[in-house]
């Protein structure tokens, strides 16, 4: 009996300990402060709700922040430097040695703002910045201030179609995806502090700063800000989202078929009314389709009766992180990046008669519910909207259906910004 009690107690203690560490780890997963004597300020911007957050804004660059329609726009510039402070009082005989190790040497130099004598070394594992031994004469030696040196980001130019090996090119961009070229950094810094007395280390302290998924998403927006795709066309001017604007992916209702609301690998999303819009469009389409089927009074341009197919709508694209958008689309400022746009395909063989009729039904449904849907939409083919003429003419093919519906490969809709 006593043995059983002891065992229960042991299990409870073990469980609580595990929970405690899980909670601690979750809370500080971006800045693992592995010493009670260190405090870390790594906030990249005042909007950030996590002291752990950091993003890298190139020098002298001013970027708009807050991506959603309703949120107030702010301008952010170079981020607050990282500040790591040793909290305990030091004796005059004690010296300090700071080290900053950068995990990704491709992006890895830092600018130490503390006026400490120091030196940088490129080690095999990455970049290491190391201070000299700092004695009592060095002012503010307990506080290390540094900033990542901005790097130049060149957006990847994704080629379409098949590669040299004849294999269809896969989406290769985005920090969270396989990304051999490392066009987006996933930065982290390990800070070590050694306290020495008479040349011997008497205590060591460690903190790890690293980008979390929200930081990585925000960094993607920064990297694509003010950059022209293929060096021409419009400059990218999509603002960067705040951390609060990035959320977990909402559950997609079962009646919405097709892809998830985002195909990005972050398991996070920016939804600026996209899901609501998708539901409204799907409802309008289903209702109108049922109505036409029941009335049996749907006629083509030659006044011949058309039979409405049972094709559902299929979500083909929702929120895209900028790297993914670069792969998908020529629109550098595409609204998909703001979480306000949704694309639908008709669930039928593309450019078939069923698909053309269903696009026509969808178009009518949207026109009928214009006020309720309150959005902008267009039918697209090869990434361009169908022309006014294509809605009126019937030549490709001549089948009683306006060409716009025969040719369309998807419907794009977005909330009005």
């Amino acid at each position: 009996m006593t043995d059983k009690c002891f065992l229960n107690k042991a299990i409870k203690i073990l469980g609580h300990t595990c929970l405690y560490y899980v909670a601690i780890y979750t809370q500080f997963c971006n800045a693992e402060i592995l010493s009670n004597d260190l405090s870390v300020i790594s906030s990249a911007d005042p909007q950030s709700n996590a002291v752990q957050s950091f993003i890298i804004i190139p020098k002298e660059k001013f970027i708009q922040q807050s991506i959603k329609k309703q949120t107030k726009r702010q301008i952010i510039s170079q981020q607050t430097p990282f500040v790591i402070e040793y909290n305990k009082p030091l004796n005059d005989t004690e010296t300090l040695e700071w080290r900053v190790k950068v995990s990704n040497k491709q992006y890895g130099t830092i600018a130490a703002l503390s006026k400490f004598p120091g030196r940088g070394k490129l080690l095999k594992s990455g970049f290491l910045w190391q201070s000299d031994y700092l004695n009592k004469s060095v002012k503010n030696r307990q506080r290390l201030v540094f900033r990542p040196k901005p790097f130049s980001h060149q957006p990847k130019i994704y080629k379409k179609g098949r590669g040299a090996a004849g294999k269809r090119r896969n989406y290769g961009g985005g920090t969270m995806h396989v990304n051999k070229e490392r066009y987006n950094p996933k930065l982290s810094y390990t800070i070590n502090l050694n306290i020495l007395k008479s040349g011997s280390i008497i205590s060591s302290h460690k903190a790890i700063l690293k980008m979390d998924k929200k930081d990585m998403i925000r960094q993607e927006y920064i990297n694509h800000y003010n950059i022209r795709r293929y060096g021409k066309g419009d400059n990218g001017n999509i603002p960067i989202p705040t951390r609060q604007e990035i959320s977990t992916i909402p559950i997609k209702p079962s009646e919405l078929k097709g892809n998830p609301l985002t195909e990005s690998k972050y398991q996070l999303i920016i939804d600026d009314g996209m899901l609501d819009l998708a539901n409204k469009i799907n409802n309008a389409y289903m209702t109108h389709s049922k109505k036409l089927k029941a009335s049996k009074a749907f006629y083509d341009l030659d006044s011949k009766k058309i039979f409405v197919p049972n094709s559902s709508l299929w979500i083909s694209s929702g929120w895209r992180n900028p790297e993914r958008n670069e792969w998908y689309s020529n629109a550098v400022n595409g609204i998909h990046q703001r979480g306000g746009a949704i694309d639908f395909i008709i669930m039928a063989p593309s450019n078939s008669r069923d698909s053309a009729i269903a696009y026509w039904v969808l178009w009518q449904a949207l026109e009928e519910k214009k006020a309720y849907i309150n959005a902008y939409w267009q039918l697209e083919k090869n990434g361009r909207p169908m022309t006014t003429q294509e809605f009126k003419q019937d030549i490709e093919p001549k089948n009683g259906i306006p060409d716009a519906f025969d040719k369309a490969d998807h419907l794009h809709a977005n909330i009005q910004y």
């Binding site: 197919p309 090869n382 003419q393």
Partner: protein, 283 residues
């Protein structure tokens, strides 16, 4: 003074005309992601008409399109072996057909549709041995309105180049389109192979089958099974959905009417004819 005013008018007209053309955002290269291999201003102007809402008056449009046609004809002899040339030529004929449809000149429109199809046929013929001569965007543009066999060919060349749209869903729907067209043309073995290659491509591209399982089922159900049944009756190869509805709307009511008529005839027989017959029978 009058001469100066006329000159000024001409300059203003030309400037307005040129501005309206130059405002075009999509050049041939931007839109089709390829070099035109002919005078790029001609190719850009043809593309502009194809892809955007043109802001010119009807007569200005006609003038411009006919001018383009004449320019294209004038370089035909030096470009006759170039698939891209015939593609652009076909595109201009499409623009002309659209224009004459708009002005309700059906005969001329029809002539240009035929010209367009012939030009596209030439482009496909020239590209047949080396499909890379044209790209997916061009095949995708050409396929609408072509005869069924050529449409299949254009779709297959488009597929072979990885599809025109990098949207994954659209790529799989293009596969479905290819299978569907093959089945409708009665080319069942090729369709079955195309379905196999679609599934293979899905595996190679690590397509998320939790998303695409339903699409796969639909392709199998609507295309393979459906058209197998229809294989012997090519008349019915178009749109089974419509056939189903014809069944519901025509055959069912017809059967019902026949049944009712039979019932009526039987009642008449029982009430009027049978008693009379019985009357004449000797007891």
């Amino acid at each position: 003074m009058q001469t100066f005013s006329t000159k000024l008018r001409i300059i203003v007209f030309i400037t307005a005309f040129a501005t309206s053309l130059c405002s075009s955002a999509a050049s041939f290269g931007d839109y089709f992601q390829s070099k035109p291999e002919i005078d790029s201003t001609i190719a850009d102007r043809v593309t502009h008409y194809y892809s955007e809402d043109v802001q010119l008056s009807i007569s200005q449009q006609q003038l411009e399109l006919l001018k383009l046609e004449s320019q294209l004809r004038s370089i035909e002899s030096t470009h006759t072996e170039q698939a891209i040339y015939w593609f652009i030529r076909g595109l201009n004929d499409r623009n002309l057909a659209a224009h004459y449809t708009h002005t309700n000149e059906q005969k001329t429109a029809k002539k240009h549709i035929e010209n367009k199809n012939n030009a596209y046929k030439k482009a496909l013929n020239l590209a047949r041995n080396n499909p890379q001569k044209l790209n997916a965007a061009m095949y995708s543009t050409m396929k609408h309105g072509l005869p069924e066999d050529l449409k299949i060919e254009a779709t297959q060349f488009e597929l072979a180049q990885g599809g025109n749209i990098d949207n994954d869903s659209a790529y799989w729907y293009l596969h479905w389109s290819n299978i569907d067209q093959l089945k409708k043309a009665g080319r069942h073995e090729e369709a079955d192979k195309a379905f196999e290659s679609m599934q293979k491509a899905m595996q190679e591209n690590n397509a998320d089958m939790s998303v695409y399982a339903e699409l796969n089922r639909q392709v199998e159900k609507q295309t393979l099974k459906r058209t197998d049944k229809n294989a012997a009756t090519p008349v019915q190869k178009y749109d089974t959905e419509e056939n189903k509805l014809i069944g519901k709307e025509v055959i069912m009511p017809a059967l019902l009417i026949i049944a009712l008529l039979s019932l009526l005839l039987l009642t008449i027989y029982e009430l009027f004819i049978k008693p009379k017959k019985n009357k004449h029978k000797p007891n």
